[in-house]
Amino acid sequence: MSEPTGKPADGPVGLVLVSHSAALAEAVAELARGLSPGSEVPLAAAGGGPDGSLGTSAERITAAAAAADRGAGVAVLADLGSAVLTVKALLAEGDELPDGTRLVDAPFVEGAVAALATAATGAGMDEVLAAAADAYAYRKV
């Protein structure tokens, strides 16, 4: 599923932000874009539930992942409970998300900024995942 190391990717790694809140997903996307000006990384927000209220929508996630896919994999960041579980369940289905889609183990805001900045350098999926996960190591106190 993931690209072998060293093989040139078809395009940048895509990013998807899954939050219980549509406003939060959009705002984090805007923040990450603002901190990586000029980035051409496809970044899609999938916030809110099936009826637009707080929650998780599998359909929004699959649509966002399809939109962010350039063939180099899609890194998905999720905020809480059902967002994480829905991404995992979709990954387990096997055919719901683009090949090379990975759930990122990272804090939502910091992970999104790190993932986008790294993907913008042309880095591959493994590097994007590692940069986002690194955000856990940054202690604030």
Partner: protein, 213 residues
Amino acid sequence: MLDAAFFRRWMAEAAAVVTREADRLTELDSPIGDADHGNNLQRGFAAVVTALDAQDPKTPGAVLVLCGGKLISTVGGASGPLYGTLLRRTGKALGDAPEVSREDLAGALGTGVQAVSTLGGAAAGDKTMLDALLPAVEALAVSFEAARAAAEQGSRDTIPLRARKGRASYLGERSVGHEDPGAASSALLIAALADTADTATDTTAPAKDGSDV
């Protein structure tokens, strides 16, 4: 033996009972959760009923796989991927057999429950749906009624537990003293199964007098 029609009736009965009990589920989800469990499941099972009408799956496994996929895509809360995974994995474990025995179902449901445990990273005693489902699977090897009783007891047994998964886990000790809404809805799902089995054994044909509507 249980055929696709039996499994369709089970899912329809589950949808009916979730609708009847939606307010109680949401009430259970208010003190320790985010107060949407009843509405979420109601939306999911309504989609399940619509999908079953439209698609007419021919085997027990296909019925459950279809229903599980619908729950994942429509519920909107954690119960969607969890119940969706439960039904999908159970359905896949049943394979494409046109009819299955209660023992087959017990075995397949065990596989589904294990998948739920893996997905959510939860185990027995964490105050989750597993506390109703694990004893129900074991008792289903004996009878449908035993499964119903075990699930209901398992759900009540979550009351003194401290939540270790989901939003309720943020409450720590304050989650003690409340029945887990996921365990309660799991008990409803198993009760719907037992009711469906009752109907199936009462007569050779499904009840048509509207008594359970």
